[in-house]
């Protein structure tokens, strides 16, 4: 018997389920990271900024689960992850070094409805990424382009050196409505006026949308990076409620 509640508003509870994904392609991105495209039947698409839990099972049955941001967005069963290798990690070295086309991994998601951008949003958007923190921001940039959104986008991308950029060629392709500022912490190409160094309040004041235009701000990266940036944004006058963060932690 079908109750009224079930017919009216109960969506299938598919989010908490594990799906089997098959690796379609991989591409090196940095010396320690790569992107992985998976075909995940039943995934059903995701919003820009969401993440997935990836579960690996060893031959002895031991399981490890880690969360990874999704670099793709849209109503498709194709999911692109981009993963940086943590030297002592349980999962990321396997994903970066060993996983091959045709291999299977389990995914749960799409997860998290908070750190997301949708084309219905019209306000200016400031993206600030540190290292592989670019990944969910890349999904937003792609969603912005795919939807021909008129919302102005700016990206501040902090990374060690030019060789450490994820999605460099895509980010260097001029895109209407997207402005990209590269900030290098260790090695800066010759000719750039800014000395290598971690992101500072001056960088934010010089290159980010000002608080006066009330941008939506998304900050993603290692925990220390995110806390430095979030505190500096609030000190510059940004409304804390408009600043959304996603920290990686140290594992």
């Amino acid at each position: 018997m079908i109750t009224e509640r079930e017919t009216r508003d109960a969506p299938p509870h598919r989010v908490g389920l594990w799906h089997v994904g098959v690796v379609v392609s991989t591409a090196p991105q940095t010396p320690t990271g790569r992107s992985i495209v998976l075909d995940v039947p039943g995934w059903g698409g995701n919003l820009a900024g969401q993440h997935a839990d990836v579960r690996l099972t060893a031959p002895d049955g031991y399981q490890a689960v880690r969360s990874y941001s999704i670099a793709s967005a849209g109503e498709t069963d194709r999911v692109e992850l981009a993963v940086d290798r943590f030297p002592d990690g349980e999962v990321s070295p396997y994903l970066v070094d060993d996983l091959a086309v045709g291999d299977q991994v389990e995914l749960r998601g799409p997860l998290g409805g908070w750190f997301v951008w949708t084309p219905a949003q019209t306000e200016p958007v400031q993206l600030i990424g540190g290292g592989s923190g670019i990944v969910p921001l890349m999904a937003m940039i792609r969603s912005h382009a795919d939807s021909a959104s008129a919302a102005p986008f700016r990206l501040l991308y902090s990374l060690r050196s030019p060789g450490d950029a994820f999605f460099r060629s895509e980010l260097e392709t001029p895109t209407p409505g997207l402005d990209v500022t590269w900030l290098y912490t260790r090695g800066t190409p010759a000719g750039l006026p800014r000395a290598a160094g971690r992101i500072t309040p001056d960088d934010l004041a010089a290159s980010a949308f000002p608080p006066s235009i009330s941008p939506a701000v998304f900050v993603c990266g290692p925990t220390g990076f995110v806390e430095t940036v979030a505190n500096a944004l609030v000190a510059l006058g940004h409304d804390p409620h408009r600043v959304k963060t996603e920290r990686f932690g140290g594992a």
Binding site: A10, V15, R247
Partner: protein, 85 residues
């Protein structure tokens, strides 16, 4: 102590238990009265689960203990949790 992540990270573990996305729920901290989305909390993963702390006063809002055949939610630090539907 490991570095914290955001409440966003709870979306997966809590999706095993609830059909709603609880990271979008707003909770009131019993310690300081702050009202924030669970996504804004600070989450400390550990081998047995997660300790969830208030981003304003650092009091413990919630502890999630994962066991092979059950998940225990200890909700000691929230006076309420408002879940959008």
């Amino acid at each position: 102590m490991p570095e914290p992540v955001d409440g966003n990270a709870l979306a997966g573990p809590l999706s095993e238990l609830f059909s709603a996305d609880l990271t979008l729920a707003t909770g009131r901290c019993l310690g300081c009265g702050d009202v924030s989305e669970l996504a804004r909390a600070r989450v400390y993963p550990d081998p047995t689960g997660y300790v969830v702390r208030c981003s304003q006063c650092d009091d413990v809002l919630m502890v999630i203990v994962e066991e092979p055949d059950s998940v225990c939610l200890e909700l000691r630090g929230m006076s309420w949790l408002k879940v959008p539907r």
